[in-house]
């Protein structure tokens, strides 16, 4: 260690101007020239990154308190702002793609019609798909529920003596809690999608159907990877993190005993499973090990290849604003010397088909466009919903799994209808959200304050004259009421935000004044 000849050496620094490099505790620390004996620095070497807010607290079947988890997310401004901006960017990219396709609205209408036709003939198309797949040499299995799905997959793996499974992202296997089950029977599951792998290593569910770790900052990822795959905890460079994951996962891919994918579209006429990814990880999972298992929700079937063109054109444009995913893979039969298994999973879908107001939610192609556009989702994070599916599509699907546990979720919406407008298969999402509120009130799954407010709103909304009077009165009242009346515990709208300034005049009275008398 070289001696610094400056005169101030060894004397207490009188002020910042006299500090030399050798006296700067941080500088010495970083250069590693001095043994620090684990002494603490008097001030942090760098500002500590904002801690990641965690998701909803789960207490068995007790109703998820989405608002409580959302409040914690909003209380982490760096996370909230990045999340909001990132998802809004995806929404804007989607809009740009949509505007250059003149037939966009036709595509949506056709996609919706094809899905509704298929769902109303679902048994026939599933049987056709099964027959075709079997004639292509694929083993086809049927699972009534999540537990049966996991048992079937475990059985296939056991028959092959497989101990490790590489897989691409699949919301269905999340829904089935498959990783948890496989851990209990000693099978190692390795997620190969970057976002999904981050979530797996952090022991956290995906927060979004397309971008599973979108709620995490790069510093959160750096912390997870430092603990699990041994990266430098101080390096949160995204290229470094992604490359480290690639290097860490590749040997696991090469050594895995079996591979698994989900399924975006199952084509009945050819028995084809179509998988859309950007990373190429589904193709590695399916093409490196000899055994390929695909888990397929029964609502994923479509009749013919010509229909696939529509859905592929819509999916990635709606999801990420790209014309297509980097990889669109069509698995029709096993490789030479390999084996392919399809597991068709019901898990509540056939029951949902019988719900008059909700069956069209089965049209969903899991693009996530409704989540990206939703102001509530963007500002509360997917984990605040405490369910496999979050955002607008989640809050109309989740109550079909457990009406009590997810009874609060349909209230996590402003009913602005943006979700419905961007849905590529034209699900009337916001109307179903409202229908779920009514349904849950009927089933007595809704607390008193919400119920009383809903009842009053229902009566006012059903009578136009009363509605107009109420709006005029409320606007007048908002102008004159003291703050504590507007911002109290009963008005969820007054939490974390200012109630908008009331307009001077309602639209109805403005219209009457300016246009009403004209012929």
């Amino acid at each position: 260690m070289s001696r610094d000849p400056t005169p101030s050496e060894g004397t207490p620094a009188a002020g910042p101007a006299q500090v030399t490099a050798s006296q700067d505790r941080d500088a010495i620390y970083r250069s590693g020239r001095r043994l620090d004996h684990a002494e603490g620095a008097s001030r942090p070497l760098r500002p500590a990154p904002e801690k990641q807010p965690r998701g909803a607290r789960i207490h068995g079947d007790r109703p998820i308190d989405q608002a409580e988890a959302a409040a914690r997310f909003i209380a982490a401004p760096e996370h909230e702002q990045m999340h909001d901006a990132r998802l809004w960017d995806l929404r804007q990219k989607r809009d740009r793609e949509m505007h250059v396709i003149p037939e966009w609205e036709t595509l949506r209408a056709l996609a919706s019609a094809i899905k509704e036709h298929t769902l109303t003939h679902l048994d026939e198309y599933l049987e056709q798909f099964e027959t075709q797949a079997q004639s292509n040499g694929v083993h086809v299995h049927w699972a009534r529920d999540a537990a049966e799905h996991n048992r079937i997959v475990h059985g296939i793996l056991r028959d092959h003596g497989a101990r490790s499974l590489i897989k691409s992202k699949s919301m269905l296997t999340e829904e089935c809690g498959m990783r948890h089950y496989m851990a209990s029977v000693g099978i190692e599951v390795i997620e190969t999608d970057l976002g999904e792998r981050i979530q797996q290593l952090d022991n956290e569910d995906p927060s979004h159907v397309v971008v599973p770790a979108v709620h995490k900052l790069r510093t959160d990822v750096a912390e997870v990877f430092a603990k699990t795959i041994g990266t430098d905890p101080d390096n949160s460079d995204v290229h470094y993190l992604a490359e480290s994951q690639r290097e860490a996962t590749r040997p696991l891919i090469l050594e895995a005993d079996a591979g698994m994918t989900g399924c975006n579209f199952a084509v009945a006429e050819t028995g084809t499973v179509t998988v859309c990814t950007n990373e190429g990880n589904a193709d590695l999972s399916a093409n490196v090990p000899k055994l390929h298992i695909a888990s397929i929700g029964i609502e994923k079937v479509i009749p013919r290849l010509e229909h696939l063109a529509l859905f592929v054109r819509l999916l990635s444009r709606s999801a990420l604003g790209s014309p297509i995913t980097q990889y669109t893979s069509h698995f029709r039969g096993p490789r030479a010397g390999g084996e392919m298994h399809f597991v068709l999973v019901d898990n509540g879908r056939s029951a949902r088909l019988g719900m008059e107001e909700f069956w069209t939610s089965l049209k969903c192609i899991r693009c996530g466009a409704c989540m990206n556009t939703c102001p509530v989702y963007r500002r509360s994070g997917g984990l605040s919903y405490g369910a496999t599916y979050s955002g607008p599509i989640g809050i109309i699907i989740d109550p079909t799994f457990n009406a009590r546990k997810y009874s609060n979720l349909p209230f996590a919406s402003t009913l602005n209808g943006s979700c419905t407008n961007v849905c590529p298969v034209k699900i009337n999402i916001h109307e179903q959200i409202y229908a779920w509120r009514r349904e849950l009130v009927k089933q007595h799954e809704v607390p008193f304050v919400k119920k009383a407010a809903m009842k009053a709103a229902g009566e006012v909304l059903s009578r136009p004259a009363v509605y107009r009077a109420a709006v005029a009165t409320a606007n007048a009242a908002l102008e004159h009421l003291p703050r504590f009346v507007i911002y109290n515990g009963l008005n969820a709208w007054g939490k974390h935000r200012e109630v908008p300034h009331p307009p001077k005049q309602t639209f109805h009275s403005w219209y009457q004044q300016h246009r009403g008398e004209k012929p």
Binding site: I114, T192, A309
Partner: protein, 204 residues
């Protein structure tokens, strides 16, 4: 088979009692552009793929030869270029773990999206197009289709056990939306327009 019957029975009991006809899907090919190759090139570039412009005269494969000149392991599945890892000798995908460049031929391409279609018969070992660090695709300009509606009429989807659209290289934006090429699959994908059989007889 009782799960199968239970599920189908439940579906039959719950099928919505509404009439929903299956619509015909048009090809959406009115106003096709003059040059499909130009549209393909633009779409491919947008998706992060590289378009290799062949030299006006001389060796058409020059851009490929330049790319692979410094590579240690090259695996070619096409007759136009000879690599040093024969695909015919590959016993398992693991034999491809150290490949730097793989060279394959596309069955066809889609101008709308910038995609190339690869399949099990031409790839011979499917994993070669994912385990290699970089992928080079030869494409006959006569094999470019306008859009996905035309593409899904091709016989490959009925005949091949595995068929895949590659559109640019492996990519991810899973961390704060930062785009990374080479997430798990190839780090780059280059497409060279080259008619089938055009360079046959040349030594690689």
């Amino acid at each position: 088979m009782s799960s199968r019957n239970d599920i189908l029975t439940a579906i039959r009991a719950n099928r919505p009692k509404v009439e929903r006809a299956l619509p015909a899907v048009p090809l959406f090919d009115a106003g096709a552009p003059g040059s499909l190759l130009a549209v393909f090139k633009e779409s491919l570039t947008r998706m992060g793929g590289l378009f290799l412009d062949p030299p006006a005269a001389g060796d058409h494969l020059l851009p490929v030869r330049e790319k692979i000149a410094a590579a240690k392991v090259v695996c070619s599945t096409v007759p136009e270029i000879t690599g040093n890892r024969g695909i015919a000798e590959v016993r398992t995908p693991h034999d491809l773990a150290d490949v730097d460049y793989a060279i394959v031929r596309a069955a066809f391409a889609v101008a709308e999206t910038g995609s190339v279609l690869l399949h099990d018969v031409s790839l011979k070992v499917n994993a070669v197009s994912y385990l290699a660090q970089h992928l080079i695709v030869l494409l006959d300009p006569a094999d470019i289709l306008l859009n996905l509606h035309h593409a899904y009429r091709r016989p490959e989807f009925r005949e091949r056990h595995y068929a895949v659209f590659h559109t640019g290289p492996s990519a991810t934006a899973d961390i704060e939306g930062v785009l990374i090429h080479g997430a798990q699959g190839v780090r780059s994908l280059s497409v060279l327009p080259l008619a089938r059989g055009a360079a046959s007889g040349r030594q690689g």
